[in-house]
């Protein structure tokens, strides 16, 4: 039976490691990263992942070892030891050191994500309006300012410039939603009654899925959207084109 017990612990050890090892090649892993902060977050994820792996292997090996030797001890008695102050201090200090390292190691990335000091100057590039169960976007237009005539409204797709800081203002009309773009590693709840700023820089042009990550009713699962990042020139062109469309539509309406 002790063979079975130790085999089970080792099966867990090997199984977990093997499963994690093969996951990336099947795509069961972080999606490609597409923002400057995403690279930092992935680095943290990997670093903490190594700590986790080391801790896991250490504990499983110790556990297997203890069970192996303890379960074959048929005669005699165990030693009535009640503890060892030195050992307690040693492992408390070791774990504390690792935790302090993780805690302080992640501070710069947290600052890059959320420190208000790093918020881009000026008004938002676009306002995101969430409602059950769709996304609406008000782009600032060519003049870069919201609340002017050249503002552009889109549904489903947000268009932003790549390679430069983008500032969004998130609002909700009804319940709590969450603006989640997995490839940008960004998530911000959109709480009604307050607006949340969100800033980031997309590294390369591309199209990224936008996911609602906070339960917002039964249509929550289908509250999909898209973020398209264009090079600055194309972005300006897109704005101009859309502004023209909007004007002509407007003049048609006037007639």
């Amino acid at each position: 039976m002790r063979h079975a017990a130790v085999a089970l612990i080792l099966l867990l050890l090997v199984g977990v490691l093997a499963f994690f090892a093969v996951s990336p090649e099947h795509g069961w892993w972080l999606p490609p990263s597409a923002s400057t902060v995403a690279t930092e977050i992935d680095g943290l994820f990997d670093a903490i992942g190594i700590v986790i792996a080391v801790g896991f292997v250490l504990v499983m090996v110790l556990l297997a070892w203890a069970v192996w030797h303890g379960a074959q001890n048929r005669e005699g008695r165990s030693r009535s030891t009640h503890g060892h102050t030195g050992l307690e201090i040693a492992w408390t200090a070791a774990v504390a050191a690792v935790l302090v390292a993780i805690a302080f190691g992640q501070l710069p990335t947290w600052a890059a994500l959320r420190d208000p000091a790093g918020k881009p100057a000026g008004g938002p590039t676009a306002v995101v309006v969430a409602q059950q169960w769709s996304w609406r976007f008000e782009h600032a237009g060519l003049d870069g300012r919201l609340g002017t005539v050249d503002d552009l409204e889109t549904a489903f797709e947000l268009v932003v410039p790549a390679g430069e800081p983008v500032l969004l203002e998130l609002r909700s009309r009804d319940v709590i939603h969450s603006f989640f773009v997995p490839e940008l590693r960004l998530k911000q709840d959109v709480v009604p009654g307050r607006s949340a700023p969100l800033w980031f820089t997309i590294s390369e042009p591309g199209t990224f899925e936008l996911v609602c990550a906070e339960l917002c009713g039964f249509g929550h699962y289908a509250m999909a959207g898209r973020v398209r990042a264009l090079p600055r020139a194309e972005y300006d062109m897109w704005l101009a084109e859309r502004a023209r469309d909007q004007r002509s539509r407007g003049s048609e309406d006037a007639r």
């Binding site: 069961w28 009535s80 993780i102 009654g193």
Partner: protein, 577 residues
Amino acid sequence: MSGARGGFWRTWIFSVDHKVVGIQYLVASASMLFLGGLLAMAIRWQLAWPWTEMPIVGQLVFGDVGRVMNPAAYTALFTMHGTAMVFFAILPLLTGAFGNFLVPLLVGAPDMAFPRLNAASFWIFLAACATFLASAFVEGGASNSGWTAYPPLATLPSAAPGSGSGQSLWLVAIVVLGVSSILNALNAVVTVVKMRAPGMTWMRLPLTAWGLFVASALQLAALPVLTAGGILQLCDRWIGTGFYTPVGLIVNSVAPDAVATTGGSPLLWQHLFWFYSHPAVYVMVLPAMGFVSDILSVNARKPVFGYKPMVWAITSIAGLGLIVWGHHMFTSGLGFEMGRAFMLSTMLIALPSAVKTFNWIATIWGGRIRLTAAMCFALGFVALFVIGGLSGLWLAATPVDVYLHDTYLVVAHFHYIVFGGTVLAIFAALHHWIPKMTGRALSETLGRWHFLGTFIALNCVFLPMHQLGIAGMIRRTADPSVYELFDRLVPLNRFVTWSAFALFAWQSLFVVNLAWSLFRGARVGRNPWEATTLEWETTSPPPHGNFDSELVISCGPYEYGDAAGERDFRPQTRSTA
């Protein structure tokens, strides 16, 4: 159990004996555990084969509505699953069932401090269960705003079908449950403080007693906050106070009633909810840690390693547990500094948990291990609690949490703690203490087989959820295939579902074992495990009043091994001579 007189009703239904109340809690909350498991099967079916006809459970759950899932039913389903499991199964199994049965026995008291109050807390609990179950059968169906019930989704009937009467009943159930748990916790705390037998000093309490005591104290400190918060949400719904509802909402193209939008804050609820519901996680794990410490020590025939650091760890987990609730709100707009502060407190709470893990390994290190079924489950707890704890490191790091928050990694993380950890510890405790409850042994062989299948299947269920979450798959989604990003996850989701069915079916082994034991199990004496603590001093099951002799406690609870005397253990009541 509580004497021959009185017949069935007096003995088993309207008894005030703490052991009967404990068993009543056990039966009621185990039934809710079964229900929660059944709901989980339906959830898994939908995630593996979205919008297809569901056999068996579909008919049970949806009946005449049709056997195919619809989005509103799915949201109600996971709301009911989470609520049933956390509030009506795991918490009452620990503090209600084991807390009531064990606390007086472990401290050497004849009963709880307030036996009638104790019976009352069970009946109030049952009323809460009934209200919760009834909420599924009202117009609009069960609450479908998640077990976290975030407003305004939960407070505005126009926002979700279940946010009508279903949500009101859900809140009533939570408030009534809160009252029951507060009474129960108060009873446990007073019993441990005031009714310990002569010589039972604090530092001679078994760790199970410590775990249950501290968990109860934690409930006393934090549960009134959620209960009051729930009453506020009811006020929002019933008399239009608007504590949680901001001004100017447009739901479904209509503005809600003017009275309901007086400028409240949805974040207020999140603070109040998590102020209890995070400590609740520790209420769900501290007693489990206690069981495991005791069972490891008994079956390794060795004292718990580092008793005082273990006590220190339990109390500091509880203390820190009160100041980490904000880590559920890293993405909710808590702000930069608050995120940093809650990150630090969260990192800090990992420390006592790690210390406990090392102490458990050191406890069995060099022991003379008996691989009883209880021991297998306890060792399983240690292995899987470690996985759940370690994945918490990713979630504690704020920038990584921003990505992982509300994904399946969180689901994997807390299921490793609550199922891999607490549920395994509950099975360990059942194997360990059922002989004391019923006077009959469970089958060790069947118990070990039950453990083996459960251990393998539960890892197959919850391990791949890490990968799902790392790939970005969100929680509470009825159909991940809406997103291209999650397309590749279909095989994983199906594997998880098959494993979940196996895990659920395998639990029948325990039911068989229990049924067999109740009627055919071998009679056990007072102390089948050769354990030192007080509950093993008395008969199995113990009589009304618990102990047939005067107790004088002369040593700590973990005198095992070569220094223990003529046998390899020294009961707590024997003189040290």
